[in-house]
Amino acid sequence: MAAHSNKVLFGLYNDEEDLKSAVKAAHAAHLDIMDVYTPFPVHGLDPILGLKESRLHYLGFIYGATGALFAFLAMSWIFTRDWPIMFGGKPYWSVPAFIPITFEMTVLFAAWGMTITFYTICGLWPGVKAQTLDDRITDDKFCVAFDVTSASESDVDSIKGFFTQTNAAEVNVKTL
């Protein structure tokens, strides 16, 4: 998140199974994980992290329904009221001919709507500076990060101890 100068303590793991057991251990030790970064989606990680199902697809449904309605009603209005044109002797209100465009507009609205919503939630806009803790997270390292901006010395020590116990390959601090 694009908050001002957060001090982040993070450990890097070499394997996704190490990562999974580390996250489980963190939960057991009641450590508050800021986020986990992986180079690819790790199956089964979400429930361990206690993440809830995304609600993005509800919006996707609403966007899609809007697109479908918009396309269908717009075509109906255009071809019956605004500018009636007869194609090949077909009735003005030719529902079968509207279906492909209605379908396309459903997909277009759902796709654009969900993309824009997702980017907005994540604060991803053109020109945003990438805030990566470590470049290798996008390649072959698995990262567990803790926000230690306002953490006490002993809290930081216990997190470091946790990293040692769970076989983190590296432990670093970075200010974002």
């Binding site: 979400d46 199902e53 002797g89 079968p96 279906i99």
Partner: protein
């Protein structure tokens, strides 16, 4: 972990399935005894169920081959189900063989192209369009296209299964000999199944309406079979699990099969609509008649098809979690399975009803004398054909009117309309070509008088509401249960002959730990402990 589980085909199940077959036989006999003189209902039922269940076996093989070729790993624990299903093609050869014998011996009139003398211009039965297609629509091609191709497919299915079963008794773990063998059979089956199935479907199903053609038909009916196969797979997996088998199949595997059920249902709807819209837009009389007839006289079949096979699975399976629940999936699979049986019913029944009606008309000698008929045909080449008329977009009213004339009663009255046209245009034969517009009017005006009489006649005999044609009757469903029992009997027998888990499959480990990664509220925890 004991992977080597053997399915036991219990006597209780055997008796139940034999009872199902007996029910089917009773219903089939009942239909046979209360039938028209061509036993159209009996033969359509036979064709319908034979193609449907053989198609399910074929698509199981095709689906499995596609997965093997695509390096799919999730499916190892379900593989044996498809392998066993595909072996039913052996029975399919016999079922289709009965129809082939019927074609050669003229025991049924499912296919109007099989009428004797249909290609002979001097014969009253002569049909110019069918004569033009006779190089493909003939008994030899029919035999090759159905039984012949099934035999080829069965050979592949048998060998693929053999390679898979032999793998179980392989001495060393981790060898790829049999896996490579399976890949060869699977990859070579894809073009073989893909291309030949189109011919199979043209011959067995589309030629029920020999005047009609659709380039989308083979796609459409093949996908219908596919969904039949997928939904039956879901039903069988859940049934086998309820018996305590297939313990390694989790809701993660079910989720993947569910995605196929959902996705292919949408694909089916796409093809269904595509076939309809292309024909609707092109307004080619020869093609639109097919839909016009079905939408006018078979609305329950037509719209029910869309409701069962698209609306229901689309709305229910749209959400992630419904694809992971055994109860919901079982419910949807049952609907989709019945829906695609219904789809085949819709494809076959109206067309076969017209075919038998045409045969009856011919037998009653509605057309007088071969000589006059030959003259009519010659004349018809000059006169505007129904397609040309229908394709002329003068005004909406005209195209509708003509569509009506050329549409509804065409199978019955084509010859009469043509006769009318030729009688009246004969004196002006010279002007015929120059006065196409006038000819349109003539066709319409003279068409009308006949139309009224013909329409009443046609409604009586070929289109009136009749259980077994307009909607499936209970006896038709009984026949379906009979064929389903036969299918399942064969399936369980095949399934009991090998381990339920392909123990030496290189992808087995992946399959055993398969996880779709979907996060479902309240379910996450239990799947990972």
């Amino acid at each position: 972990m004991n992977l080597n589980t053997q399915f036991v085909f219990e006597n209780k199940t055997k008796r139940l399935l034999l009872g199902g077959m007996a029910l089917g036989l009773v219903c089939l006999s009942f239909i046979f005894l209360n039938d028209d003189e061509y036993h159209t209902r009996f033969w359509t039922n036979w064709l319908h169920n034979s193609v449907f269940f053989t198609g399910i076996a074929f698509m199981s093989m095709f689906f499995l081959s596609a997965q093997i070729t695509a390096f799919a790993g999730w499916n190892s624990v379900v593989k044996r189900v498809w392998e066993a299903m595909s072996q039913f093609m052996w029975v399919g050869i016999i079922l289709m063989g009965v129809l082939v014998i019927g074609v050669w011996g003229h025991f049924h009139h499912l296919y109007h192209w099989n009428t004797p003398g249909i290609t002979d211009p001097t014969n009253p039965a002569y049909d110019k369009i069918i004569a033009g297609k006779a190089s493909f629509l003939n008994p030899i091609w029919y035999t090759v296209g159905t039984v012949g191709f099934l035999a080829i497919w069965y050979f592949w299915a048998k060998n693929l299964r053999k390679a898979s079963v032999d793998q179980d008794s392989m001495e060393t773990e981790g060898g790829y000999t049999y896996h490579k063998k399976q890949r060869k059979w699977a990859a070579s089956f894809l073009p073989l199944g893909g291309f030949l199935s189109t011919v199979f479907l043209w011959q067995s199903l589309m030629s029920v309406d020999p005047h009609w053609y659709s380039t989308m038909f083979a796609w459409y009916s093949m996908v219908s079979m596919w969904l039949g196969a997928i939904s039956l797979t879901v039903i069988l997996i859940i049934y086998l699990k309820s018996l305590g088998y297939l313990e390694y199949v989790t809701f993660n595997h079910l989720h993947d099969v569910g995605k196929f059920l959902f996705g292919i249902s949408v694909f089916w709807a796409y093809l269904w609509f595509d076939q309809f819209m292309l024909i609707w837009y092109a307004n080619n009389g020869e093609e639109t008649i097919y839909f016009n007839h079905r939408m006018t006289f078979y609305p329950v079949l037509f719209w029910g098809n869309l409701l069962l096979n698209f609306v229901t699975p689309f709305l229910i399976l749209m959400r992630n979690d419904t694809k992971r629940k055994f109860g919901t999936m079982f419910f949807v699979a049952c609907i989709v399975f019945f829906g695609h049986w219904w789809d085949y019913f819709y494809m076959i029944k109206p067309g076969a009803r017209i075919a038998s009606h045409e045969a009856k008309e011919l037998a009653e000698g509605k057309q007088h004398g071969a000589k006059k008929h030959a003259a009519v045909v010659e004349e018809a080449e000059e006169a505007p054909t129904s397609e040309e008329v229908a394709a002329t977009p003068t005004t909406e009213a005209v195209s509708h009117e003509v569509g009506h004339t050329a549409g509804h009663e065409a199978p019955v009255t084509t010859s009469k309309d043509t006769a009318t046209t030729s009688e009246h245009s004969a004196p002006n034969a010279v002007n015929n070509e120059s006065s196409v517009a006038a000819e349109h009017t003539a066709t319409e005006v003279h068409g009308k008088g006949h139309e009224v009489a013909a329409a009443e006649h046609a409604v009586d005999e070929a289109t009136a509401f009749k259980v077994g044609y307009t909607i499936p009757g209970l006896d038709d469903i009984g026949v379906m249960i009979g064929f389903l029992s036969l299918f399942l009997f064969f399936f369980f027998q095949q399934l009991s002959r090998a381990s339920l888990v392909p123990m030496r499959d290189p992808y087995l480990e992946e399959s055993l730990h398969h996880d779709t990664g979907a996060l479902i509220e309240g379910e996450g925890g239990e799947s990972h402990h």
